[in-house]
């Protein structure tokens, strides 16, 4: 088929040198390098990334970092205030809860639960939402209408109530919470994936791939999907934040992580009864939640800012 492949026509070479446009190497970086360069100058992203790194470190090495076992009760030592407040003890840096468990250790272990649920649920949601969005956007037709109807239904249900009902019916555990939150938080992925796919589907590189003999499935996965990665990454981080908050809310209402696990939301619920006298029981886990979620959001906003590429630059 390709017999004349080694054509070395001197005239073409001559033209390519005199006529061909110069690559202005200062003009553009590859997409990944350009994003990295912008990331280095993005304060919010760096702060968010730093906090998350710290949280992940705490979660991974919790057994070595926590001063006490988070489950061991020490009733004589119950409801100790943080060490710097009158009546506090330096052994219990952040005080103890109503069962005398070390609050610092419980908060450190709590990072594990929040991160696991955040990442797990956001992954479950991503798998559902991206798959449906890609199918609906790329293949269209009745599939698209069916998916749209599903989205309308999902949006119409008060999602917290649905999650609570599901957890109540299935039973309380980390896995259940991950899957239930994931299964109710895929709409955002779907909407973005679908509209991006609809736009990409009309791009000529998709037609080019089709006309070189690729199947529709190949085109959807190999040509369209890689172009969605930035947007999916951004939604993923935002959904991690939402999942963390959902779990906390759920546990606060008593239908999330079962006691005695150190979920921050559950800790707030347990502290609520004595919050007028021991406000730190409510304030501290809340602050931990706030820090983690704001860090994830900063990271997400940052990723969005640095990956926005000017198509025609």
């Amino acid at each position: 088929m390709m017999t004349t492949d080694t054509v070395k026509n001197p005239r073409f070479v001559a033209e390519s040198q005199t006529d061909g446009e110069q690559v202005d190497t200062g003009l553009g970086l590859s997409p990944a390098k350009a994003a990295l360069k912008r990331a280095r100058g993005h304060t919010g992203l760096k702060i968010g990334f730093g906090i998350i790194l710290l949280m992940v470190f705490l979660a991974l090495f919790a057994p070595w970092l926590a001063p006490h076992d988070p489950y061991v009760q020490n009733l004589p030592m119950r409801l100790l205030p943080p060490a710097w407040v009158d009546g506090g003890e330096w052994r219990y840096l952040l005080g103890t809860d109503h069962l005398g468990r070390d609050y610092l250790s419980r908060i450190i272990y709590g990072a594990r639960i929040s991160l696991a649920i955040g990442i797990g649920a956001a992954t479950v949601g991503a798998i559902i939402g991206v798959t449906l969005g890609l199918l609906a956007g790329y293949f269209g037709g009745w599939l698209d209408q069916a998916v749209n109807f599903l989205v309308t239904c999902q949006l119409a249900i008060p999602s917290l109530l649905l999650i609570m009902a599901l957890v109540f019916v299935i039973g309380q555990s980390i896995t259940v919470v991950i899957f239930v939150i994931g299964a109710t938080h895929w709409v955002f992925y779907l909407v973005v994936t679908r509209s991006a796919t609809l736009r990409l589907r009309e791009m000529d590189f998709v037609a080019a791939a089709r006309s070189m003999g690729c199947s529709r499935f190949q085109v959807a996965v190999r040509e369209v999907l890689p172009n969605l990665s930035n947007q999916i990454m951004v939604i993923f981080t935002l959904e991690v934040a939402i999942a963390i908050l959902s779990e906390a809310t759920l546990s606060f209402l008593g239908l999330g992580i079962p006691s005695p696990m150190p979920s921050w939301g559950l800790m707030i619920a347990e502290g609520k009864t004595s919050m007028f006298f021991q406000p730190w029981l409510v304030v501290l886990p809340g602050l931990a939640l706030f820090m983690l979620v704001i860090a994830v959001n900063l990271l997400g906003d940052g990723v969005r800012d640095v990956t926005v590429t000017d198509r025609r630059s």
Partner: protein
Amino acid sequence: MASYILRRGLLALLVALVVSFGTFALFYFATDPAQTIAGEDAPPEMVEEIRQEYGFDRPVSVQYVAWLGGVFQGDFGESYFWKQPVGELIREHAGVTIILALSSLMVTILIALPLGIGAALKPNSWVDRFALSTAVSAQAIPNFWLGLMVIILLAVMFPIFPVSGDATWRHYVLPALVLGASSVPAVMRLTRTGLLEVLGADYIRTARAKGFMGYQLIFRQALRNALLPVVSVLAVQLGHKLGGSVVTESVFSMNGLGRLAVESIFNSDIPTVQSLILIFVLTFVLLTLAADLINAWLDPRIRMG
């Protein structure tokens, strides 16, 4: 236009039916209402008797249709747990939720719209930075925790407002603030990006070339276009708030529909959960329908299809 409304209305109804049947089936397969009514320690014969008496042995679709038939006649059934008609229960609790939802929507509008518009008019100014950091922080604060903090601060340390309950208007101030704050980031961001997008549109450049400037440009040229997405998001937010502000109501111990729903779930009170979900879904779909109609009125492209 009439057929547009009709089709949207039918779609809304279909969504409500599908969702309510889904929840009905979920509880049908996962719980045993006869046991619930009889109580945990009831003897098996008694449970069986109740099962037959209430018709729980019929197929799920038959039970659903029977229940739905009742709903169309205004009969939502009898609560297993509170032992009173569900319709009555809902009427007792709805007022709190409606007042709370509407007042918190006002809070959202009063904070989010001015911030969003201000931020869009002067991008990268201090207003914009303030608005964005407000949004980022508000998004990260767990709403129930914000409620507790507000109680500690404004009801305990500085006892300006009551801690909990729903007796007077003063009881609604803190919950409305907290619930309203939860929608501020979404509404504010959308207002900002929507207005920014409109201000960058070609037709705004045309309007400037015609001699429009300042407030005339914003109010006579840009605002109507920028409002379109905001109307939709406000409808969604109001829908969520009317759909049981579960968290706020339980933090402030208010007897609204959200709390009613939570307690019904905890007690496997199927008729109540059922009816509430149907009402929430219907409310939501009708609100988004209303938003679509407002948008159709604002935008001739939608109106004329």
